[in-house]
């Protein structure tokens, strides 16, 4: 018999998300993803100064705050036809690299960690055996000693005994879907605690170059404002010192923990659980040359269709369209998708069923459905890693092959919840490893060239620009139109709109929806497996807000049906 379960709120994510799943027995046959918040930041951007676009747009999301700042700035720079000077380009790469590594670390331990790690089971662990596990995949495990594991165990014990579990309270502890042995749980729980101290370090790097994190203030149109810090050896040394700490943690905690988890959750990956869509899209990021050519991006650009890793298609942004067939918006013709550069948004809230569930056959989400060539795409670390792997990026290839070989998995195992989680770890290492060379390059360059800003004139005629960037959780695009030195049209397609999108005109499900099909629940009242798969996308729903009415600029009154 089919039953329906509703998980709302999905916690440990950014923003407001609901998942509804139809269960047949204990297996999900269909799933629906709904963004439940609408703010309308695109509309708010209308009529503003183009220079302020980044500062507004970054408030879309407090998690990928810098990615939005940069994408908006790129869009305006693209419209003006300018590029930032070398110092600014590198400094921006460092800012975004730090953000990406931090985001991946927080995701693995704080946000998604509790889906894989049973904290209560860690109390049964033998610290000695935990030591063996800690050394299984690295010769120099992070903060691993018998004393440390005993200490962590004792403290967790105290914590649980005091009855004050705080955020751990009410978790799904003991659910049979937790596969790690107590020692594995203790090891990762111990790094979970270590990471609470580590995760502020990349944020400090962002603060050195960008004033504060979240919501830095430095990425001005044409360059960067923190030149005084760039030419200050002490500040740059502060960055280098912190980068070392980050790479140490990534190499000696994150990657080994990932391999540990892979060892025990291998079966899931082999079955391809949570694989979902077969198409992957990456805009790429981190320009390596001063002309900012996408061909030389550190994270590569490309499109993979039908899981065919033998061919990477070139990205054509004109093929990106958004549908609203199942979204709370109206189009004149909802059979056709619209490119963001001409996107229209006309909110049309049709409400929920009387029992509070989604009207799945009608409109059911505040997110639009972006599609590429009318196909649903997955974006994010897995998409980026697959594109780089298929394009033959040597570093990525060797990292992926190492992880797969160590875990004893074939390449196809990447198309799964575990594969997505692993790709994020691989990418964290790939980006963390680049931070030091970038910083050294910046120091070297700033010694001879202190330019940090490109002069420009804002014309009165109409200009348009696109900023295609990568946020930690996937491809991020900003489309801007400027006239009379004011923004007249602004459209944002964020990663979570791609991944969390509802069905489109052809009834193709979005990435979350597709990935949940076939997921089995060990206990239907505990949505642990749903969380695990949805979390593996690193949802970020505040980003996924949508509205613009370029012509009238008016706000309409809506009635709930």
């Amino acid at each position: 018999m089919a039953t329906k379960i509703i998980v709302d709120p999905i916690t440990r994510i950014e923003g407001h998300l609901r998942i509804e799943a139809i269960l047949n027995g204990n297996e999900i046959t269909e799933a629906y993803s709904s963004g439940t918040l609408f703010r309308g930041i695109e509309l708010i951007l209308n009529g503003r100064a183009p220079e302020d676009a980044g500062l507004f747009a970054q408030r879309i999301c407090g998690v990928c705050t810098y990615a939005h700042y940069e994408a908006a700035t790129w869009a305006v720079e693209n419209a003006l036809g300018i590029h930032p000077p070398k110092n600014a380009r590198i400094a921006r790469n460092i800012l975004k690299g730090a953000q990406m590594v931090q985001d991946h670390l927080v995701h693995f331990y704080q946000l998604a960690g509790l889906d894989w790690v049973d904290i209560v089971s860690a109390l049964k662990a033998d610290p000695k055996k935990t030591m063996d596990l800690a050394y299984a995949y690295t010769k120099t495990p992070y903060n691993a000693s018998l004393a440390r594991f005993e200490e962590v165990k004792a403290r967790l014990n105290n914590f649980v005994k005091s009855g004050q579990l705080g955020p751990f309270a009410g978790g799904y502890w003991g659910n049979p879907s937790y596969k790690l042995p107590p020692e594995g749980n203790l090891l990762i729980a111990s790094h979970y605690l270590d990471n609470l101290n580590i995760l502020r370090i990349p944020a400090q790097i962002i603060a050195i170059l960008g004033a504060k994190d979240p919501h830095p203030q430095t990425c001005v149109v044409g360059g960067i404002s923190s030149i005084a810090d760039i030419i200050n050896p002490q500040r740059m040394d502060d960055i280098l010192f912190r980068i070392n700490k980050i790479t140490d943690f990534v190499n000696n905690a994150y990657i080994p923990d990932l391999l540990t988890a892979a060892q025990f959750y291998k079966e899931e990956a082999l079955q391809g659980i949570g694989g979902g869509l077969k198409n992957y899209l990456a805009y790429g990021a981190f320009p390596q040359t001063d002309d900012e050519s996408p061909d030389n991006y550190y994270l590569m650009r490309g499109v993979i269709l039908g899981r065919d890793l033998s061919k990477v298609h070139n990205l054509d942004e004109k093929k990106i369209t958004e549908f609203v067939t199942h979204s709370w918006y109206k189009y004149p013709n909802e059979k056709i998708g619209l490119n963001p550069s001409v996107g229209i948004t006309d909110p049309d809230y049709t409400g929920l069923n009387k029992d509070g569930s989604l009207k799945e056959d009608e409109k059911y989400s505040w997110l639009k459905s972006p599609r590429y060539e009318n196909k649903a795409m997955e974006v994010g670390p897995l998409a980026r890693t697959l594109v780089a792997y298929a394009k033959g990026n040597k570093t990525i290839k060797s990292l992926v092959d190492y992880v797969l070989k160590t875990a004893g998995l074939p390449v196809t195992a990447l198309f799964s919840t575990l594969g997505r989680t692993a790709a994020r770890g691989i990418e964290a290492k790939y980006v963390a490893d680049a931070l030091e060379p970038w910083t050294l390059e910046l120091i070297k360059n700033a010694a001879v060239d202190q330019t940090s800003w490109t002069k420009y004139d804002m014309p009165s005629k109409e200009i348009t620009g696109i900023g295609l960037d990568e946020a930690p959780r996937g491809a991020l695009g900003h489309w801007v139109r400027i006239k009379n030195k004011q923004i007249t049209h602004y459209q944002i397609v964020v990663p979570s709109t791609w991944n969390a999108s509802p069905r489109d005109a052809f009834n193709n499900p979005g990435a979350y929806e597709a990935s949940l099909v076939g997921v089995k629940l060990a206990n239907a009242s505990e949505p642990l497996e749903i969380l695990r798969t949805v979390h593996s996308f690193d949802p970020c729903l505040a980003c996924a807000v949508h509205i613009i009415d370029p012509k009238t600029n008016e706000i309409k009154k809506y009635k709930i049906c």
């Binding site: 509703i6 407001h16 923190s226 810090d229």
Partner: protein, 441 residues
Amino acid sequence: MGDGKKKDAAKNENDNPFSTPEEDNNFNFKWDPLRNIADDPNEVLKRVDERLDGLEKECFNNKKDKNNNLENIFSLHGVTRRDFLKWSSFLTSALMLPYIFRPRVARAANILTRTPFIWLDMADCMGNTEAFIRTAHPTPAEIILNYVSVNYMESIMAPAGYQAEARRIETVKKDKGKYILVVEGAIPTGLNGKFLTIGAKGDSGLKIAKETSKNAGIIIAIGNCASYGGIPAARPNPTSAVGLSSVTNRQVINIPACPANPVNVVGTLVEYILVGKAPQLDSLGRPLWAYSGRLHDNCYRRGHFEAGEYVRHWGDDGAKKQYCLYMMGCKGPFTWNNCTTVEYNQDISFPMRAGHGCIGCSQPAFWDRMTPFEKPNADAKIILPMVEATADEFGMALFGAAGAGIAAHAIYTGVKKKRESKKTSEKKKSDSDKNDDNNDK
């Protein structure tokens, strides 16, 4: 307090962070009448101690439980007893309380961890949460708020869906009048609140905010969105978003900024535990102890302002020398907060230090009134704690007879420099011209 006394106090405190040093019995301090508890310092201390005793009895099972509570929590996160002592001293002074309150602040922090706590996410970007869990160092402040007393906080709690909601509903019912409510994000009121729905029944954020506010012991709006509507409420306010104080008739303490500084939140909570009510607020609902200073007055670049030395475009010579950012649109003169003294990300930086002007994120409607952010806007209608005036009018009032208004000051300096440069031979160009040259290279 003399050095000797400090030493003794420290020695005493090493044994127990909550114990009151002996010399405290002979205290002598001037009570800040703003707090409005009682005029007599003896009376104040007595009341505070009585309140703390009562709360401790309620929150802890026994003495051992009381004494070990924080240590258990902190050691899990690698915070030592000494860190905690330092932090409680820091917070005492940040709260502008006499030093005699230090152990009491520590006791209040201890109680705070056992006080039920609900954190609601409304129309937000989670930036304030991030400022706590991700970027702020795990000082006792963040730990107390995020890892201990949280009954409902979507961003970090393990359960989801029904289990998560159940915890919120249970807390509202069981701990009526006791729980602390922190709200992040604006409240959309358009569409009958349905621009945001939470929970399996699809309740609106508006409804949940109202219901949860009704029974709360104390209500804090964290960040500019929850305080004044923030960016969702910026023109044209598509979702009719408002700050929390507009949807509840309870008193709301506003901790604006984007994101808000965790110190200001915890300080306010500690004061609530100490005296049982909100700290003294300014006319915009902000605690005076944190928001009574104007950024411009405490900015390390202020000297350059006085000297008429400005950054005139990004990356010029002035930018490298960290000159005043007023000409680049800095809103420090119209913004009240403690960023310049407390700073962000463990004293690493704040906007002016990174060469970008303040955008005025602690002030209501700054998205409309302070924009464009990167240009000085002298005729902007800026809302100040006491008056509403244009920036220029305010500048006049601010500097009064001592100097002209800020804009006038800036223009004057600019003119003066040009005159000087004209006077000298043509070879010598003015600073700003030189900068242009540098940039063209």
